[in-house]
Each structure stands twice: as C-alpha cells, then as structure tokens.
Symmetry: C2
Subunit: 207 residues, 2 copies
C-alpha cells in the first residue's frame, strides 16, 4: 500500500510515519519506481504497537526503540522481552531521588519468598515496592508484613489473569503488544477498581 | 515551640512554613510578645500530612487545601473525607482527553455488581476503569469479563487490607493521613508486586 493508505488505516500523519522510520522504530517501505514507496500489513501492525507504547504507555521514543529491538530479537525468550518492556514502562514509578533502603529491599525479598515466587532478582518491581515501604515508614505509618502479604496475594491474582491473556496469543508481536498495553492499562484497572472497592468497604464498615 | 524548632522537627524551611500558613494549609501560630510566634505539636503533625500529600501524593497546593478542609469538617463521615482525598489523588489517572464510552461504563457497573459491591455512583474509579477498558479495545485487545472480574477480586483483597489498617486507627487526622499516604503508596505496592508476580508467572510457564 502507499503511504497515503497507511496514513488512513493508522490515523498517523505521513510526517510522523517518516519520523518513525528515521528513528528506526518502523522498517522502511519498499522503494518502487520514482517517488513511490510501498508499505504492507506489517507496517500497519507495527505502527499500532508504536502508538500504543507512546500514547498508552507514555514511553519515550528511545524506550519504544528498546522494546522493539527486544521484540525483533527472536532469540530472546518471552520472559526477557517482558522484562525489557516492564523496565521501560515502569521508569516513571521508580524514584531516582532516593534509592530504597536495604531493610525494605530485604522485606520485599521476604514477601516474594512467602508468596512462593521465584527470586525477583533485579526486577524493576523490587525497588518500587521497597520505596513504597520506605514511604509508609517515613510518613509515620510503617506497614506490617500481613499488609504486604495481602497485596502480594492480590498481585498474584492479577498476574495470573495477565498471563492467561498473554499466553492465549500465538503471534509473538501481538503477544508483546498485549504485554505492553496490558502492563500499562492493567495498572489503571487495578488503581480504579481499588478506589471503588475502598469506597464500598468504607461505606460497608460505616467508618 | 518557635518556628526554628518546627523547621528542625519537620525538615521544612521557615519560608515554606509561612507560605503554607498564607495559603491556609496550616493554622497560624500563636503570636507572642514582639516578633515571636509559637507553634505546637498540632502544627508539626499537620506539616507532616501536608508534605505527604505534596511529595508522596504529588498533589497541588489547592488539592491539599481541599483534602484538609474535608478533614477539618468534623461533621463529615470518614467515607466522604475519603472520597475527597481519592478524587484529589486520582486526578492524574483520569484522562480528560477522551471521556469513557457509555458501554465501558456499563461494563464497570456490571463488574461492581458481580463483585457484590455497593453501586459505585460517581466514584473516580469508575471512569478510570472504563477508560482502561476502552484503551484495551482501541489497541485491538478487548478484555473479557472474567479478566475484569479477576482484577476486581484482587482489588477487594487490597481494599480489605487498606480498610483494616485505616480502621485500626482511632485518631481522625492520623486516619486521613494513612488514607492519603496509603492511597498513593498502595498503588505503588500493587504496581511493583504485579511486575514481580508477572515475571514469576512468565518464568514458571516458560513462555
């Protein structure tokens, strides 16, 4: 298809498409006679993924490039691609102002252990959780272990739903697409449902 | 205590403390002879709450003022104070670019219904969840009901932990403080633990 058709299908302006090609996010189209360049379904598909990452995931162009490189490296197992996507998508959640305390990181590892999960190694979530534990303590409301364990039980439910959804997709590109979209939108689902559930519980308890 | 002591205790510069007083966030100290103004424990306490909202919750000064006004209105039941805090704290999560579709809002109400929760009325979470459902659909990955229900089950666990923690506190100001701090930091806990649980599940399934 011509670039004008790709613009129509994707809702992305031609100048933006050319920018993505220059930045290496999108493979160049096939040069045909004269000024004509032709694109195919794979371009339309990749454009959707790029826009999902930029708009839904609010990733920078360079983070999108990292995720796409991991996706295109077919030697990488899914778990590794997932890790690259998770790291790119979680940058905002990690405070670079103050690193988490060693005690809190230890507490996260203990939660992971009690949940029966594999060692979380350098998963981006480890620092995020440890920083949250530090934040509670600094605000004068240190969190007990059973609070963290209940959050971990909830995270296990959510991750099971996520992996069921991702595992049901055979195509690698679409699977990564759902990982990216689902990582970001799943956070919103959790956040929004937590607000509603809190309101329900507050009313129910007549606090 | 003198303002210099309040500065020491709270780690907040004197100019900032005076700014909070001018903006109505912090009650003025008691004027004593000459240039001296005296502050007490309640000032130190309120300062901690203000800073938790500004720094942890990333609220604007005017949102902090709203939450504090709700807190100080002792005629308000806790559920209402909670709602004001939730709304103030969730502003970033609500996209004002595109309102949620009517179908998605209906789906949220159906999820709430199946979860056995009270009608969520105009809870801020309703729009957040509906927008996330729209986002999944737009990205070509519409979410099935059982996915949403599993997220709701997780949110119920988390809200139970939150309300257990809040309900255990007798003092109203400290309870609101935990609500505010817990709403923000609990989102981080969920987000971080979800990343770790996803990595665990991905490895476990050898995807």
């Amino acid at each position: 298809m011509l670039i004008s058709q790709l613009v129509d299908i994707s809702g992305t302006p031609a100048a933006t498409i050319k920018y993505y090609v220059r930045e290496g996010l999108l493979p160049a189209g096939e040069r045909e006679g004269g000024n004509r360049t032709s694109y195919d379904e794979s371009h339309a598909h990749r454009l959707r993924l790029i826009r999902a990452m930029l708009e839904v995931g609010k990733l920078s162009v360079s983070s999108v490039a990292q995720v796409l490189a991991a996706l295109d490296d077919s030697s990488k197992p899914l778990a590794e691609t997932f890790e690259v996507a998770q790291n790119a998508l979680s940058r905002d959640a990690v405070s670079e102002v103050s690193p988490p305390s060693a005690e809190s990181v230890e507490r996260v590892d203990a939660v992971v252990d009690r949940a029966g999960w594999l060692n979380c190694g350098d998963n981006v979530g480890r620092g995020i959780v440890a920083q949250a534990i530090d934040g509670f303590a600094r605000s004068g409301h240190p969190v007990p272990d059973h609070y963290l364990d209940q959050y971990a039980a909830a995270a296990a439910l959510v991750a099971e739903a996520d992996l069921d959804a991702v595992g049901a997709i055979a195509d690698a590109a679409r699977r990564t697409e759902l990982m990216v979209v689902g990582t970001v939108l799943g956070d919103s689902l959790s956040l929004g449902l937590r607000r509603i559930a809190q309101a329900h519980r507050t009313n129910q308890r007549k606090l």
